[in-house]
């Protein structure tokens, strides 16, 4: 222990050099991040098991997730990762002002993400797209307006409508989905409405293709809501497959075809998907909140002038944490939103 004399304040008494302390901190953080990955790994396993055992659930349920909002959220989170990286860089250079600014931007990104998540959750809550016994069958009214409405809604997002503009008059929980974008769709004109929306969204070919496919499913559609027999599940599964050429347009097209034919044969146990969806995104959301608290903590320390070009380890470590939170979402988004 030769360097007692020049032991800086920030250096723990049990470390010899700042490099040793920094290396230890960083190594410890990486180990912690490994535990975070493994924590999520359990849920990814559950996802993999149920998706391989019940693919129809996943293909059916995915249509209820809003790709646009998910996509925006992905961009928001990646941007916040970028500003975090800039903050780390600024901190390493000892530019406290820039560090603080980038940290604030990162926090804003985090809040933006959570805000959009809240909109999505509210929508699902309102329509009973939930886990376990809380899940409400969507097919009762799906066939008539729910589905068309849903996708009309998605199409309408292009026009800047927001999801939670539900129209109360609609009888069914799920039908209210449609209210946002394709309000007209709720009242009988949904076919044309949604179809148009699909057209807006992109590829007409995909839309018609899906429509053709869908008439097949429609054949089963007049069965009662409780009918969840296997062949219908298969249909449910296949519909998205045929429309995979265009990511966003496909569901609209599907919806366009869906107008009259009621339920497209919702498979059994759809709530399993939403259970997994809420567990995964919920746990991720908790991590975003934890990350925001950590960023706020380093922001305060930055403003207090605790960091310098010589010592900015906490900013670095919090940055790593934020990136892993981002990375988890990068996997969650395609696994949950982009199934077909």
């Amino acid at each position: 222990m030769s360097d007692h004399g020049d032991h800086p304040d920030y250096l723990g008494h049990h470390y010899d050099t700042p490099e040793q302390q920094f290396d230890s901190g960083k190594f410890g953080m990486w180990l912690f991040l490994a535990t975070e990955i493994l924590l999520f790994a359990g849920l990814f396993c559950a996802y993999a098991v149920y998706r391989s055992n019940h693919p129809e659930i996943f293909h059916y349920s995915e249509q209820f997730l809003d790709r646009k909002l998910g996509g925006i959220n992905t961009v928001v989170l990646i941007t916040s990762s970028f500003t975090m990286a800039m903050a780390v860089r600024a901190a390493q250079l000892g530019k406290n002002g820039a560090t603080a600014m980038f940290l604030v931007l990162t926090i804003l990104g985090g809040f933006g993400f959570m805000g959009i998540k809240k909109v999505e959750y509210e929508h699902k809550w309102k329509h009973g797209l939930l886990w376990g016994n809380k899940y409400q069958d969507q097919e009762h009214h799906d066939g008539h307006d729910g589905h068309g409405g849903e996708h009309g809604d998605e199409g309408a997002h292009d026009d800047g409508h927001s999801l939670n503009l539900g129209i109360p008059g609609v009888t069914m929980a799920h039908a209210a989905d449609g209210a946002g974008g394709g309000s007209a769709g709720d009242h009988g004109e949904d076919a044309s409405q949604a179809g148009a929306a699909a057209g807006d969204g992109g590829d007409h070919g995909a839309a018609t293709h899906a429509a053709g496919e869908h008439s097949d499913a429609g054949g089963h559609s007049d069965m009662s809501a409780s009918d969840k027999s296997a062949p219908i599940m298969v249909d449910g599964e296949e519909i998205p497959h045929t429309t995979h050429e265009t990511g966003a347009a496909a569901p609209e097209g599907l919806a366009g075809a869906d107008d009259k034919h009621a339920d497209d044969g919702a498979p059994a146990y759809v709530h399993i998907f939403f259970g997994i969806y809420f567990l995964m995104t919920g746990l991720h959301g908790l991590h975003v909140i934890a990350g925001l608290i950590a960023i706020a903590w380093v922001l305060v320390r930055t403003l207090k002038g605790h960091f310098s070009a010589e010592y900015s380890t906490p900013v670095d470590l919090v940055g790593l944490y934020w990136h892993i939170v981002d990375l988890v979402w990068i996997y969650l988004f395609p696994l949950l939103y982009l199934i077909s």
Binding site: F32, L38, L39
Partner: protein
């Protein structure tokens, strides 16, 4: 060296700062180790008493002292508290925390605050677990299998939340140890000059970091299942209860090695020091720890032979057998170390020898259970119970006791009564074998585990098993008695009473607050020529290893002069 002892009498880590608050806010790894020691021994006492109640209930068929539901709660709490609050944190967090930085010649672990937080999390998690005893003790068995755990009216959530929090305590210890071993080794201590205790703790810490998060998410899923009715594990809702078992054992099998690997580290130290002979096959023992850690992740399926496809069963069975290879490598190296050693039959050595015997039986009976055809007959019988007690108790707890007696003089600066300690060791050894040997027999005769009632044919085995348990209890109370007595009236311990060559014996007993006045030079940890017995003081004085220096320079050994001038 005796001057260092004199100095220590004025100030050591125990008396450097007075008051309860100085303990509760300490960042000193030694104090945290002692706090952990007190905590886990409290848990051990509670869980041990529950075991006595279980054994008493089983003295006679039918009702003896409690009703069946209470009996279910007893054995569940016994298992859960023993596993999650005593055996898993036992050696790493209590003994490991104390000796790891000392063995490295370091002042502390890499993250002292994280270390303290780990202890608080243990207490917090422990409170949840114990509260569940009051609010309706869990009756599912310590594995919390669904659908028991989703259907029972007992307070599963408290207990599983406790387990979740205890898991974080364990993760933080693991992170701390891995980083400390990587980054705080002194100059001259290469990986191949690290004491084997540290290899054991290192392999353990790797598992703690990589396996524990999975039990974390499993417990969260179980809580979500109970509170929200998510249905992931509920067949009525399309879920799969077997998935729970996979999740649970993906952690809990590696957790078995979290329990046994540090014990193997302890035994490596004890056997070498107390036969005063360099360890045989150092690299083989070190690498076999890492190999066991790696294997531990791919054998969980052997807990579920009755629930998987024949193909999966065969794969898991073969993998399970493969774990016996590194375990046997260790055992044979320990035996070879003993061969022609100067064996000192003191208490730590008696525990080490007990370990070899009991762990040998525990390990070999594991092969019976890993064999598919035999397992069909033996699974869920007392044979399984006896097997894992031979490993968990005969392995881990015996090694913990051996380590506790080995490091007790260093931890508290006092010697215990050797005669009583040997007697207690003998009682525990005998009592343990009576308890669980009879369980092997009745298990192979078909007595199912966890049953409240049994036919008369099993009666005598149960009686013997209970008698053995009472003998063990006497041994433990005796141990508690003489250890507490030693704190008050024990003979003062010298710096190095055993003649060990690892670095923790190169500071005062008990150590000063910052461990060492000067960072000691790392010699090969099993080179006993570095110290010599001093009959006047009873201490093994450090004399350095002048004859060794030439050889050692080639492998990076730093002599006295070099270290003190840097």
């Amino acid at each position: 060296m005796s001057s260092a002892t004199d100095h220590a009498e004025e100030s050591n880590y125990l008396n450097a700062k007075p008051g309860l608050m100085s303990w509760l806010t300490t960042l000193d790894h030694k104090r945290i180790g002692v706090m952990y020691l007190i905590s886990i021994l409290t848990a051990f006492f509670i869980a041990g008493m529950l075991a006595m109640l279980v054994r008493t209930e089983l003295l006679t068929p039918g009702r003896t002292i409690v009703d069946p539901d209470t009996y279910n709660q007893f054995f569940t709490l016994h298992g859960a508290i023993m596993v999650f609050m005593f055996i898993i944190p036992g050696i790493p967090a209590a003994l490991g925390n104390f000796v790891l930085p000392l063995m490295l010649g370091a002042k502390d672990v890499a993250f002292p605050r994280l270390n303290l937080m780990s202890w608080y999390l243990w207490v917090f998690g422990g409170v949840f677990a114990v509260v569940s005893m009051v609010t309706g003790a869990v009756d599912t068995g310590w594995t919390f299998y669904t659908p028991y755990s989703t259907d029972t009216s007992t307070s599963v959530i408290n207990m599983t939340l406790g387990v979740f929090i205890l898991g974080f305590a364990s993760i933080f210890t693991g992170i701390n140890f891995v980083v400390t071993i990587h980054k705080l080794r002194p100059a001259g201590m290469t990986w191949w000059r690290m004491p084997l205790m540290l290899w054991g703790l290192y392999a353990t810490a790797i598992i703690q970091v990589l396996a524990t998060p999975v039990i974390g998410i499993t417990m969260l899923l179980l809580i979500a299942e109970r509170t929200l009715g998510v249905g992931i594990f509920d067949p009525a809702l399309g879920g799969d209860p077997l998935l729970y078992q996979h999740f649970f054992w993906f952690y809990s099998h590696p957790a078995v090695y979290i329990m046994i690997l540090p014990a193997m580290g302890v035994i490596s130290e004890l056997i070498s020091v107390h036969s005063r002979k360099t360890i045989f096959g150092y690299q083989a023992i070190a690498l076999s720890s890492v190999a066991i850690a790696a294997f531990s992740f791919i054998v969980w399926g052997h807990h579920m032979f009755t629930a998987m496809s024949p193909m999966a069963n065969m794969v898991f069975s073969a993998l399970t057998f493969s774990v016996s290879i590194p375990s046997a490598v260790k055992t044979f190296n320990w035996l070879a170390t003993l061969y022609r050693g100067h064996i000192r039959l003191n208490t730590p050595m008696l525990y080490a020898l007990s370990f070899l015997f009991l762990f040998g039986i525990g390990g070999l009976t594991g092969l019976f259970l890993g064999t598919l055809a035999v397992d069909v007959h033996l699974h869920d019988t007392y044979f399984v119970v006896a097997h894992f007690h031979y490993v968990m108790f005969g392995g881990t707890v015996i090694a913990f006791l051996g380590g506790l007696h080995h490091w007790w003089p260093k931890m508290f600066g006092r010697m215990y009564n050797e005669g009583l300690a040997k007697l207690a060791c003998f009682l525990i050894f005998i009592g343990f074998n009576i308890t669980f040997m009879s369980q092997f027999i009745m298990g192979s005769l078909g007595m199912p585990r966890r049953y409240y009632d049994y036919i008369d044919a099993y009666g005598s085995y149960h009686v013997w098993s209970s008698i053995g348990a009472y003998i063990m209890a006497v041994g433990f109370f005796l141990t508690a008695g003489y250890l507490i007595h030693s704190l008050i009236a024990g003979k003062k311990a010298v710096e190095n009473p055993w003649g060990a060559a690892t670095l923790e014996w190169r500071t005062a007993s008990p150590p000063i607050e910052h461990n060492f006045h000067e960072t000691p030079d790392a010699n090969y940890p099993y080179d006993y020529s570095v110290n010599r017995f001093n009959p006047d003081t009873g201490n093994y004085d450090h004399i350095g290893a002048p004859a060794q220096e030439d050889d050692d320079r080639a492998v990076g050994f730093h002599g006295h002069g070099l270290e003190s001038t840097t």
